[in-house]
Symmetry: C2
């Protein structure tokens, strides 16, 4: 549920649509704009898809949500608090597994040391074959 103050505190106006979009992202864990819209429509049937897109962008600008790429195209949205894990996406079966960010700590450190590159490991999924499909 979106607390009214957190939106106002970020300098955003409080509209039912905006609260609902944020709530939906939190409830869904990660979701495409289309899925967010569908979820919001459960309580607010009239919401327009473009309103969902606009609010996702606005919420991302103030850091309340963030997007990730799990598949070959588009984006999926997470609540910012939730971005504490990596996504392991299987190229074969499409499954999305989680791994703690720490699993990449070493890698991130290497890139920082050797290239001065500050890696955001959550923006793109980690792509490959899941344990089940390796066999």
């Amino acid at each position: 549920m979106a607390d009214k103050h957190e939106l106002r505190d970020k300098g955003l106006r409080l509209t039912p649509q905006r609260e609902l979009v944020l709530s939906a992202v939190r409830e869904l864990g990660h979701a495409t704009p289309e899925e967010v819209a569908e979820q919001v429509r459960a309580t607010h049937p009239g919401i327009n898809l473009s309103t969902v897109y606009r609010n996702l962008e606005t919420l991302e600008n103030v850091g309340l949500v963030q997007h990730t790429h799990l598949g070959h195209g588009g984006a999926t949205y997470h609540a910012a608090e939730e971005l504490t894990h990596l996504h392991l996406v299987c190229s074969d079966c499409g499954s999305v597994g989680d791994a703690p960010i720490g699993a990449a700590a070493n890698f991130v450190q290497n890139l920082a040391d050797d290239y001065g590159f500050k890696t955001d490991v959550t923006h793109f999924a980690v792509y490959g074959l899941c344990a089940a499909c390796v066999k």
Copy 2:
């Protein structure tokens, strides 16, 4: 330049368009379908974009090219031989740097050991801030 035999050897028919698409991918290093089309048009002005898409797909199916995601959307194509490095994409300035695959060896090993996940580190770029933009 695409050697005629390598296409035939993969069971593909040899068309000028197909050879040119493969050559273009090799010359460009990594390129979007649009960029490949533009490159091909230098010697074969009439080539249709859909022919480029179809051939990229065909060439990917037989393993001569491969696609990667460097940006937030679409795909860019590489010659299969060239996929020996990671891409470090800067979220700020958009630059695309390279790093040897080995930089991720440790990470890949971790995921294999802990999750049985076989990682393809080249499919998605490594996203973050380049050294210049970190400052």
